[in-house]
């Protein structure tokens, strides 16, 4: 059977993906340390061993340093995704019925991955949700960082304490998507090199 090499991930997306991996990893692990200083839910702590920063001040330094990488990289990625048509081509359309069907198929181990250049409905939903959740994290994070300067919109999301809750749950959503994403890459390992080289081989 002849094989054809297909380009699946543009260079901008690959660079943004790996920078985002680094930034989100720092943001989440340092964020967990910050959370532990005053947990929202009394008996729910994150073990120190998987947090970053050593103590609260160290974690805050990491969080407020990595946020620049996270936001600048995110702005480049989203701008590219919108202007180049990348989002429209790869993430749309998303039909709830198709998402449900693909999620169920994935659980039965029957989700097809023949063509890696096209995302299935479950992938589209997860990637779009991830982008939206990361945007929510930036917006709620700004309210937490500067609750007075950003009160003009913070007031609509429950001010400081509301933003704190939203920030936490958006983080939990991101953590969940990352866990599933990494699990899927382990199950379909040939997707991994494609995020580095940008190419996959497709049976034609």
């Amino acid at each position: 059977m002849a094989q054809e090499v297909v380009k699946v991930h543009p260079l901008v997306v690959r660079i943004a993906h790996w920078l985002n991996v680094l930034a989100v990893l720092i943001m989440i692990t340092s964020g967990w340390r910050i959370y532990d200083a005053s947990p929202l839910f009394e008996s729910f702590y994150i073990p120190d061993s998987i947090t970053l920063g050593g103590w609260l001040a160290g974690a805050l330094q990491w969080h407020f340093a990595a946020m620049w990488l996270f936001v600048l990289n995110g702005v480049v990625y989203v701008t590219y995704g919108l202007l180049s048509g990348h989002f429209r081509r790869k993430l749309l359309p998303i039909r709830p019925g198709a998402v449900l069907r693909d999620v169920l198929a994935a659980f039965r181990g029957k989700l097809a991955h023949d063509d890696l250049s096209v995302y299935n409905a479950a992938q589209r939903a997860a990637y779009l949700a991830l982008v939206l959740l990361l945007i929510v994290l930036v917006l709620t994070g700004l309210v937490l960082w500067k609750p007075v300067q950003f009160y003009w919109y913070g007031r609509f999301i429950g001010d400081y304490e509301g933003a704190r809750l939203l920030h936490f749950f958006a983080m939990a959503g991101v953590a969940l998507i990352v866990v599933v994403h990494v699990a899927m890459v382990i199950l379909v390992p040939r997707t991994f090199p494609s995020m580095i080289t940008g190419r996959v081989r497709r049976a034609s």
Partner: protein
């Protein structure tokens, strides 16, 4: 030790006066430094070059916050029904160790770029026109609580004592050996109060008798209690937590 090293990058900027003041605080400080060293397990953060980069980013964040800060943007004020009861106690020591200041003997000392440096007694301070605010106190740890403070507008007080308001910093040395410093723009913000009262009562010791600087546009640790000396300076004065690595501006 990690904590000392963090402080070193600030050392060059400290004024002689503050170094002397800090010397007094050293004993109490070294105790908590020991406790903090036990807590810091992260070797990556300890690495000198990483630490340098993080401190440089923290300095950059100071600049960004200074630029974001607007003297006309006010912290939200709340109805008294929203006040958090009881209002939490917080300090670098336990509540049992709160100091007892003798109000009769107390004098507020002034230093640095100030014209009228005569010390102020409590009756003199209480005679100044006062305002009240019900605002949210946000701790660097993440929790927040709403309280009511009353006192003299700090900008009025700075004007009255002839402080040079073109200077960069206002520093505070506290009677419990705490210290902090703020930017002049925040010192002149209309909601920054030299507060003498909490919930309409003279500040109890645990909330900082005889006075605290209430700054609703900064994190809680930038709101010094038991203030003994106020000084105005162009030299970066640092502070108790700031020297250990907390972001200096820490604005809200």
């Amino acid at each position: 030790m990690k904590i000392r090293r963090m402080g070193e990058s600030f050392l060059a900027h400290r004024s002689r006066q503050v170094v002397n003041l800090e010397r007094r605080a050293f004993l109490g400080k070294s105790l908590s430094v020991g406790a903090l060293a036990l807590l810091s397990g992260c070797e990556l953060t300890d690495d000198e070059s990483v630490q340098k980069l993080l401190m440089r980013m923290s300095g950059w964040n100071d600049d960004v916050q200074h630029w974001l800060f607007s003297s006309s943007r006010l912290a939200p004020e709340f109805p008294e029904s929203r006040i958090t009861r009881p209002f939490p106690f917080n300090a670098y020591y336990a509540e049992e160790e709160v100091i007892d200041v003798d109000g009769g003997q107390y004098k507020l000392e002034l230093g640095g770029m100030i014209k009228e440096r005569k010390p102020w007694t409590l009756p003199e301070l209480y005679a100044l026109p006062q305002v009240s605010q019900v605002t949210r106190h946000i701790c660097v740890e993440g929790w927040s609580a709403i309280g009511k403070w009353s006192g003299v507008r700090f900008s009025d007080f700075l004007q009255r004592i002839g402080a040079d308001t073109t200077a960069k910093y206002v520093g505070f040395q506290c009677l419990d050996d705490y210290s902090t410093s703020i930017d002049m723009a925040t010192a002149l913000h209309p909601q920054t109060l030299l507060a003498f009262k909490y919930a309409d009562q003279i500040l109890p010791p645990k909330y900082g008798f005889p006075m605290k600087l209430r700054i609703p546009t900064k994190l809680g640790f930038k709101n010094p209690k038991h203030i003994g000396t106020i000084f105005v300076s162009n030299n970066y004065p640092g502070g108790y937590w700031e020297d250990k690595g907390y972001n200096w501006f820490s604005g809200s």
